[in-house]
Amino acid sequence: MKPPPFAYHDPSTLEEAISLLSTLPNARPLAGGQSMMPMLNMRFAQPDHLVDLNRIAGLDGVTVEPDGALTIGAMARQRVLEQHPEVARRCPLMVEALAQVGHRQTRNRGTIGGSLCHLDPAAELPLVAAAMEAVVRVAGPNGQRDIAFADFAQGYMTPEMEPEELLVAVRIPAQPAGAGHCFLEYARRHGDFAIASVAVMLVPDAVGRIAEARVALGGVGAVPLRLPEAEAALRGAPDVSRAVAATKTLEPMEDALVPAWYRRHLAGVLLGRALVIAQSRMGRA
């Protein structure tokens, strides 16, 4: 299991990287490598050119915007985010999720941008992005554009990006004041991709009622899903059982290891549990 032959480029600027991706045939970017390198070693990926993003300066920052949102550079390592005080303060959902992302050794290399672009339907960070209504910034030969994550996650492991484009940053609105969050997943072993996962955000009004509910589910569709019926059921006077019942309409993928019905069943179980935790963490706006 050795990587196939490719030409390697390690540009030091974003512009150079985009130029390489635009001009070289069959070129693929390399971020943290924790998904790309196994695919290379197994020769599932056979690029002619590999454009390593690790030498580009300034792509790994974590900044706090004036409105309190976080802007996280695509090359920020998962392990850095896990330990970052501003991430803990403004997006505790992400910290909760990161503890389930692979293992310490993969988080030391793995990046947030790599995970969002890889877009595994059961991965934790895309689910966080869906729940937080993140906006990703994509750069290409014609400049940069911002895409709501819901639009970015276009299909099964398929982000809304051209081959010569790069994800450069993700903007995550700060968790609203008093909001209760919870990230839960069920995997057979610690660090595995989840069979099903749920991210919940309950945003209170001034008197502590649920003004806005966000329910995002992973592992049960081609991309991370929001569950509007459940969210509606939770607003105002929350009807938890109706929210959980909304998972019954899910149509997860079937594979050799896990039956689709079980993923659907798990989604309901995890949602019920996550709502209890999120409600207990909710305060007032």
């Binding site: 299991m1 050795k2 990587p3 196939p4 032959p5 490719f6 030409a7 390697y8 480029h9 390690d10 490598g33 924790q34 390198m37 196994p38 290379l40 070693n41 197994m42 050119h49 590999l50 390593d52 690790n54 392990r79 692979g102 293992h103 310490r104 050794q105 993969t106 030391n108 290399r109 072993r189 610690h190 660090g191």
Partner: protein
């Protein structure tokens, strides 16, 4: 020249405190570079797809899978492998001593990855709980020991390292 550099290039890095420079193919993994070019065969390849953890080394102090890094990516980095853990040829590191004492290795193939992973961890968490240790080694597979001796050894090593010089 730039075309050459896209296929093979000279890599400069410091491995276990010694500066190394070697011409490598760009597709060579860091693991193969350490094992084949530098002869540091203590780093083992157990799966080559980033799951088993046997190939874990420290790159600039961080534990990483050396099967999931290219050698060229180690340019300018400091790498520590299992060969660099013991202070000298006579003395073992307290973690190594505790592994032997608790029978935390049988065939020993996973051991280098366990040691490097735990070294980074103990640096960060000098007084860990057993559960924290289980989580940190959950990315290192061992087929021989049933893991609990490794947890016991780590707890003891942590205590020695906290109290030791």
């Amino acid at each position: 020249m730039s075309e050459d550099r896209s296929l093979a290039r000279r890599v400069n890095c410091v491995v276990n405190g010694t500066a190394q420079a070697a011409e490598v193919s760009v597709r060579r993994t860091l693991a193969d570079y350490l094992r084949q070019d530098l002869g540091l065969t203590g780093t083992h390849l157990g799966c080559e797809h980033g799951v088993c953890g046997a190939c874990t080394v420290l790159v600039d102090g961080r534990a990483v899978r050396s099967c999931l890094m290219l050698a060229v990516q180690a340019e300018g980095c400091a790498v520590t492998t299992v060969e660099g853990i013991a202070p000298d040829v006579v003395t073992l590191h307290p973690l190594q001593t505790a592994f032997a004492k608790h029978h935390a290795l049988q065939c020993g193939f996973c051991t280098p990855g366990m040691l490097t992973t735990l070294l980074e961890f103990l640096e960060e968490v000098p007084a860990p709980t057993a559960e924290e240790i289980r989580i940190v080694i959950s990315g290192n597979l061992c087929r021989c020991t049933g893991y609990e001796p490794i947890v016991a050894a780590t707890l003891e090593a942590a205590a020695v390292m906290r109290g030791g010089a």
